[in-house]
Amino acid sequence: MGTKNSVALAVQATGLEKSFGNAAVLRGLDMTVRDGEAVVIFGANGVGKSTLLRVLTTLTRPDYGSISIYGRDLSKQAEYARLSLGAVLHSPMLYGDMTIRENLNFFGKMFRVRDLPGRIEEMTDRLGLGPRMEQRTRELSHGYQKRAALARAMLHRPRILFLDEAETGLDEPARKVLDGVISEHRAAGHAVVMTTHSIERGIAESDRVFVLAGGRIALDAPSSHVTPNDVTGLYSDPSDA
């Protein structure tokens, strides 16, 4: 709990518990992510990866346990924590009847992004959104929706990026863009927390591997020491979830 070392930690979560009705999803989960570190979370379907990301991004409140993002306790200073985190979860979280530009403009104003038009242009170029900027997001392909979602998540220059199976269903160009964004984010010394189904890719793109099983982190190891078999060996059948 010492503020000295928690400042250096991008994520510090202790004793997280969350259940929905009868199903206990998180059961006393502890995890830490250091700044500048890319972490990948593996786990079988329905084991609670998405719930964990929702809890870490302030969207879902844990029943018990505490989380701080860059030393900001989510139960007390969630609004500050939100400034330093960006998230791309399953749905793009964009207004279907607004264009990409209108969406980015809106969310940028919500975050009070400095020099918003410039930042939007920057993200447009970086993510290759140029020709689609004036299209309603409802009409976009899945790949462009994800790119736009990524632009929304990064507009306010977050220090930590949460990606929940962001590469699923992306075509090759979009996937390249995503990989580029992740590696740039890491190169800039920022943190990334992602989940993915492709285990090889996940291990290759991260510094550290977590495996979520039974509502806890069952494996926490440097990516260089982990093989895909180590990961799948820990998957358990969560048929009661």
Partner: protein
């Protein structure tokens, strides 16, 4: 553990005795009201249930605030117990009110402020209970229910004020001969009312606490079920890793 049932039994006996005393006072002891006749005895039920319905709202409000502050399930149980019991007492208040109004004022419904208020509150708390029935159990349901319960409580004085204004603006179509009759509530009448109010309050506490207990047991059953399904999961997981191949789906649902 053994002390608890005893207290409940004593409370039940106390409630029964008070109720018996109330019934005796209402029907045998207190003199018949000169103007209205026997129907006036409805008053001895109408006022106490109206009072307890009001207590229920305060209980829901306090429990809801406490829940939002502490997130302790016991407050949620208390709020539900208050709401379910309160809805029944509010319904009794409306029925006794109408039964009393018909012979005395010639109409079932008069738009009298307290009746109007109770009717609207009845609807709000029925919606509160319906919401709980629609929503899957869990923290979210407890929290949203607390918000509804609280908004209803905040609305109560506003509704009452509005209903009073409305009553004044619409002097009701009263046909009966006693519309302006201010029954005096002193002497035996007052005493009977007092005893009846205490009896119904005690009854309310009894019913609400029984409901609270039942609710708690329901939650305990849920928790046990959860523990059992987790246990089954854990057994399946360990057998998974020792035998490395296990095609059987892990148990527990």
């Amino acid at each position: 553990m053994a002390a608890l049932p005893k207290i409940r039994l004593i409370w039940l006996g106390f409630t029964a005795a008070l109720m018996a005393l109330t019934l005796w006072m209402v029907f045998l002891w207190v003199p018949t009201e000169i103007n209205q006749g026997n129907i006036q005895r409805a008053l001895y039920f109408h006022v106490p249930v109206a009072w307890t319905a009001m207590v229920a709202i305060v209980l829901i409000a306090v429990a809801s605030v406490a829940y939002l502050k502490t997130r302790d399930e016991k407050w949620d149980r208390l709020a539900v117990a208050g709401a379910e019991t309160g809805v029944i007492f509010a319904a009794l208040m409306l029925i006794t009110g109408m039964v009393w109004a018909k012979p005395v004022w010639g109409v079932w419904w008069t738009g009298e402020a307290k009746l109007t208020t109770t009717l609207i509150l009845f609807f709000i708390y029925v919606a509160y209970l319906m919401f709980r029935a629609y929503f899957p159990p869990g923290e979210q349901r407890r929290r949203l229910a607390a918000i509804i319960g609280l908004i209803g409580a905040i609305d109560t004085p506003i509704i009452y004020y509005g209903a009073q204004l409305w009553e004044r603006a619409h002097p009701s179509a009263v046909v009966g001969p006693y519309s302006n009759n201010d029954s005096s509530v002193d002497g035996p009448v007052g005493l009977t009312l007092l005893v009846a109010t205490i009896a119904f309050s005690v009854l309310f506490v009894y019913v609400a606490s029984e409901r609270y207990r039942l609710r708690k047991q329901e939650d305990e059953v849920m928790a046990l079920r959860r523990a059992i399904s987790l246990q089954a999961l854990r057994v399946a997981t360990t057998s998974d890793s020792t035998e490395s191949i296990s095609s059987a789906p892990a148990g527990g649902a």
